[in-house]
Symmetry: C2
Subunit: 339 residues, 2 copies
C-alpha cells in the first residue's frame, strides 16, 4: 500500500477553499474568517491531516528537531540526561531525534542525522573530531556533552578530574589505602579519561604509586560483577576499588555478596554518578553525584541559543559535582536506609 496521508490540497478540496487558506488555518488562524476556519478545521479533523514536516522544513529551512548522539541507551545515566534534554526541546516545540551508537563511532549516521535536524548534541566519544569539525564548518549548531570543547564547539561537562581527585584523596587519606584499583575503560571516553587521570594524580600528589593501568572493562553491572569476582578470587585481591560509574560498582556488590566478602570491611568500593540505586543498597555507595538532568537540559539550551542566533555562546560550561560519602568507602553510613 502506498502512503497517502492527506495533503494541503486534499484538505483544500474537501473544504472548498484554496491551499493558502488551509495553511493559514494551521499557522495563523486569526487571519481566517471564523466560518471559513470552522469549515477547514472540520475537513482537517475528518481527514486526519497533519502538515508534513518535510514540506514545512523545505520552506522554513529548518527541521524543528534537534538530535542527540549517545554511546548507548542503556542505564540510568543516559536516561536522566535524555530526560533533561527532551524537556527543554519540548518546551521549545522541537522534536528530539536520538541516535544510539552502541559504543562504536558512527560518523556516517551522525552526518545523516545532520540532514534531519537543526542542531546536534554529541556525547563524549561518539563522533570523531573530524566529523564535529565538518559539521561546525557548515554552520550546524553543535554542543558537546561530557567532553572537552573542540575548537569553537561549546561543551557542557563536569570536572571529572577534580571529582575523582577528591574521591581518591578521601580513600587515600581518611581510610589509608595504599593503592587503589580503577575499574573502567577510558578509551574513547573523555569522561573516564579524566577520572582515571584524577585517580593517578591523587596518588602522585602523595607519592603513592598508582596502578599502572586501569582495568579496562565496559562500565555496566555484568562486567563489574564478573571482573570483581575474578579479582576477589585472585591471590592479592585489592582492598579498595574505584569504579568508573555506579553500575559497575553495583555489579561489584553482587560479586562481593557471592564471595562472602564484606563491604567495606574487606573491600572498599566507590562509584560515580549517584544513580537511584546508589543510595538504596547497603551499605550505601560512596559516589560522586552529577547533575545529570541539568547536563542534558544545559546542552539543549546551548543548542537552542545557537539556533536562535544568540551570542555569545558560553564555550565551556562546567557544572558542579558533589562528593557523596556513604558507607561503602568505610565511613559510617548515613541515614539512607531502604524504605
Amino acid at each position: 500500500m502506498v502512503r497517502s496521508s492527506p495533503t494541503v490540497r486534499k484538505v483544500a478540496d474537501h473544504a472548498g477553499v484554496s491551499i493558502a487558506t488551509v495553511s493559514r488555518v494551521t499557522r495563523r488562524p486569526d487571519l481566517v474568517a471564523s466560518d471559513t476556519r470552522e469549515r477547514v478545521e472540520r475537513a482537517i479533523s475528518e481527514l486526519g491531516y497533519r502538515p508534513s514536516h518535510f514540506g514545512q522544513a523545505l520552506v522554513d529551512r529548518r527541521h524543528s528537531a534537534i538530535g542527540v548522539v549517545f554511546p548507548g541507551l542503556s542505564g540510568p545515566y543516559y536516561y536522566d540526561v535524555i530526560q533533561g534534554f527532551e524537556a527543554e526541546a519540548i518546551a521549545a516545540r522541537l522534536s528530539v531525534l536520538i541516535l544510539g551508537t552502541h559504543h562504536v563511532r558512527n560518523d556516517e549516521q551522525v552526518l545523516d542525522m545532520a540532514t534531519r535536524v537543526d542542531g546536534i548534541a554529541v556525547l563524549g566519544g561518539t563522533a570523531s573530531e573530524e566529523t564535529i569539525r565538518t559539521l561546525a564548518r557548515q554552520g550546524m549548531p553543535l554542543a558537546l556533552l561530557a567532553q572537552h570543547p573542540v575548537d569553537d564547539v561549546p561543551a557542557v561537562r563536569v570536572d571529572n578530574y577534580a571529582a575523582m581527585y577528591d574521591l581518591t584523596s578521601h580513600l587515600l587519606d581518611t581510610h589509608g589505602y595504599e593503592s587503589i584499583v580503577f575499574l573502567g575503560d577510558p578509551t574513547n571516553s573523555p569522561d573516564l579519561t579524566d577520572r582515571w587521570n584524577g585517580l593517578v594524580a591523587a596518588h602522585r600528589a602523595r607519592r603513592r604509586t598508582p596502578p599502572a593501568e586501569p582495568i579496562k572493562i565496559g562500565i555496566d553491572q555484568p562486567n563489574g560483577l564478573k571482573t570483581v569476582a575474578r579479582l576477589l578470587a585472585s591471590t592479592n585481591s585489592p582492598r579498595a576499588i574505584v569504579c568508573a560509574n555506579d553500575e559497575t560498582a553495583l555489579g561489584a556488590y553482587a560479586a562481593a555478596a557471592a564471595a562472602g566478602v564484606r563491604i567495606p570491611e574487606d573491600l572498599a568500593l566507590t562509584g560515580f554518578d549517584d544513580i537511584p540505586m546508589a543510595g538504596l543498597v547497603s551499605p550505601g555507595l560512596t559516589t560522586v553525584s552529577q547533575p545529570m538532568r541539568e547536563l542534558g537540559a544545559c546542552v539543549a539550551q546551548i543548542l537552542l541559543a545557537q539556533i536562535r542566533g544568540d551570542r555569545p555562546i558560553p564555550p565551556d560550561v562546567i557544572l558542579a559535582t558533589t562528593l557523596l560519602i556513604r558507607g561503602s568507602c568505610g565511613c559510617r553510613d548515613g541515614p539512607n536506609s531502604p524504605t
Copy 2:
C-alpha cells in the same frame, strides 16, 4: 548564525555544471562522464555537501527512516530490542528515529514522528488505540511490539500469559508455595497484564487463591528494592515473589541481602526477560528468557515488508520463550557461576 549547508545549486556553481549533473553524480554516477564526475566529486567534498533529506523526501515521498516508540530508554530489555531493530534498519539503509515516552502516553509526539518516517513500531502501551487506528487509516505502515494486534495492525510478541502460567505452576507444584505475590504494575502494559493473568490462572487451575491485586510498582531496581524491603519488614512477609521483570528482581536481591534474608531458603524469587545480570547473581535468577533482539528485528522486518508493499503481512507473530530454572526459585542452581 543561519544554517547554510551547501545545496545542489552551490555545488553545481562550484563545479561549473547544472544541478541535474550534481544529482546524477550522487544517484547514478555511471551516467556522468568520468572527468565531469571527478570535478563534481571534488566540489562535493570541498563543500562537504550532503543531499538534504527533506529535498529527497519531497521527491521520493518517503523519508528513508523508520521510527520506534518506547515507554522508556532505560534498561537492558529495551537496549537489546533497539539493537535488533536498528540492525535491520541499517541493512535496509534506513535511519532510525527513537522516541522515548517515559511511561506516559504521548500521542502528540507519535503523530509528529509519523510525519518524519515511513513506518513506526509501537511498543506496548505507548500510544492509544485511537492513535494507532488514525495512523493505520492513513496507510502509515505500523507494527506493534509486545502487545496484541489492533484491527489489521500486525503485532510481534511472546506469549507472556503461557510463560507466566508455566513459571507460576513450577513454584506452586514443585516448591509448594501457597500463594505468590506479583510485583509490577500491569496498567498500560499489555505485556504485564498477560503475565499477571497467567499467574492468576495458574493459581485458579489448582484451586489456590491468587493475590487479590498485583503490587503496582514501576519495574526497575530501585522500586524492587524499596518494595521488597517493605514487604520483608511486614508481619506476614511473603515466601515467594514473582517479579514482573528481572530488574525488579535484582532490586529484591539487594533488599534481601540488606535484611539478611536468604534466597531461596527464606524467600523464593523469579524474574522475566533473562537480562545478562540474571545468570550472574547468586543464586542465579530463575526467569523466562525472551528473544529480545529477535523481537526488535522481527518488528523491523514487518515494517520493511509493509513499506516495500509485500503481501500478505503476518498479522500476529509469536516468538518462543524459555523457562530458565536457576537457583532463586529453590531448585539447585546450575553451573552458571560468575566468571
